[in-house]
Symmetry: C2
Subunit: 316 residues, 2 copies
């Protein structure tokens, strides 16, 4: 039995982070990262994406990564599935949680998966049916993500009502978690409150998770705003891995270790040992290159009272 | 008559930022920065510190910087004064607002100004008397800052009650603004709420301002927490200038342009034109070196809807 958490921090660096890197990370390095981060207390990791290998060679080893990750004790293994074909590959392996993602921005959805948004929403029903037909209704959780929910590089601001309607559709279609994503880092805390409250009102009883990018520096402020709305599940990427390969230094997802530091400092239990997490970051940086890793905590170090707490004192 | 603001953003890069740089910035470059930032809409700038030039050669030109800054239209000129002697120099020049700072951490205060904290608190009374004796009671505002109020590299956590007591002392002694500073970037949003509520309870009727460092990435989340407590005055540094010269890449104060972006996105009026502010940053970077400047917005650029608003659309 694992201790209770206040907030679930979900690592997405192996998917959202690696996705933007031109060179595939060796499978052994991915698995070392997954095992070390799980050992540090991270309970849920999005380990790969079931996209065609010819589109994203980074995930050509999806099957192998999943099979090995399923052996890691105490870890909830998640895989992104862009379509029914990807879901079928993941279901065949017995992945316990799948993330299916639709863009709220119609333009972004068209450019990303070459389908109309409404068609992509409808596709989720097919994935639910495939899961049920495979007899995995009790054992595979289906999460549905809304990308560009806080803005889009093509369309700018996205109307809250559009997000609300997409969330309502997916909840009705059988989503067991709704993930609201600020894919391009446009969101601000005021907007976060508005969007998450609207989504929560449509999804009673279904957990809502947040996926923020720190592109314009507001990532952790947005987490705080979402926490205040009652959100308790957050995606993050070790060392903020990801971002745009064409904007050097631009961070991608919010930084896992900075997020854990904030939550931990606020007295919210994440189950994660932050010093061990920082060690995992150093280990991952050896494979990825230090220039790929961002984040403030790793540079500045833990505050003095953390060290005191380690030597027998109390943190809170 | 200047338009009303919701939040006052105060630039401290010329003092807190430059303070940590080994090479003095030429006076002409300081003045160009001050003039450009005021023209972009920044209404209050801490332009210098009246410390002995032999301690901090960066501020050997304090008199000249102040005299020229006083000529900038619409600008509230502020100077840091570490002691009575500094206050007397500033009063002689007619500086309209002085910041006097005491460390809540007794150890930090001793190391910083070689005085007991209680003696430093008591010194503020002397500065109030000097201001009044100079006949400047109506024309010079005295602000009092509490540094290390959210933690100290020597002492770790600082008890909220210590902050509360120091704030109460300074308010009683005549402070017209209390500035609560997270000097080493230890604070988290939960602690911010606790500390600012305690200080606000002791300082009825006196404005309370916040000075956050982004050392561990929580700077803007801390701003959000302070906003929720009713704080409407924030220090920030253009390009996050400052930080520790021994920790490359470690940011110092929160980044002015990222702060303005957050406030602006939330619909809070700062009076600052963010595109002009980004231009000032580029100009300052030419003198300071781009490696000194941090911040996410300058790297990532403004969101699409800002550009749309510029071309005639509406932002909110």
């Amino acid at each position: 039995m694992q201790p209770a958490l206040d907030v679930l921090v979900r690592e997405v660096g192996l998917r959202d982070g690696l996705q933007s890197l031109p060179t595939p990370l060796p499978t052994s390095a991915k698995l070392a990262w997954i095992r070390a981060e799980a050992a540090a207390g991270v309970r849920e990791i999005e380990v790969t994406s079931f996209v065609p290998a010819k589109l994203l060679p980074q995930f050509a080893d999806a099957e192998q990564v999943v099979e090995q990750s399923l052996l890691v004790p105490g870890l909830q293994v998640v895989a992104l599935v862009p379509n029914l074909r990807g879901a079928q590959r993941a279901l065949a392996l017995g992945v316990p949680k799948l993330d299916y993602v639709v863009s709220v921005s119609r333009t972004h959805n068209l450019k990303n998966v070459r389908r109309e948004r409404e068609a992509s929403l409808e596709d989720f029903r097919g994935i639910v049916q495939a899961r049920d037909a495979a007899g995995r209704r009790q054992t595979t959780t289906l999460a549905a993500g809304l990308s560009t929910a806080l803005g889009c590089s093509y369309e700018g601001r996205i109307a809250v009502d559009e997000v609300r309607r997409c969330a309502a559709f997916l909840a009705e279609a059988g989503a067991q978690e709704i993930l609201v994503a600020d894919t391009v880092g446009y969101g601000d805390p005021g907007q976060v409150r508005e969007v998450f409250r609207a989504v929560l009102a449509e999804t009673a009883g279904i957990p809502v998770a947040a996926h923020f990018h720190d592109t314009r520096g507001l990532g952790l402020a947005n987490v705080l705003a979402a926490l205040e709305c009652g959100i308790r599940r957050f995606d993050a990427s070790l060392g903020g891995l990801g971002g745009c390969p064409y904007a050097p230094g631009a961070s991608g997802n919010i930084v896992t270790e900075d997020l854990v530091f904030m939550l931990d400092s606020m007295g919210l239990r994440t189950g994660i040992d932050i010093e061990r997490l920082l060690a995992v970051r150093e280990q991952a940086a050896q494979h990825l290159g230090a220039g790929q890793m961002h984040g403030a905590l790793a540079r500045a170090g833990l505050p003095l009272h953390y060290q005191a707490a380690r030597s027998g004192g109390r943190l809170h």
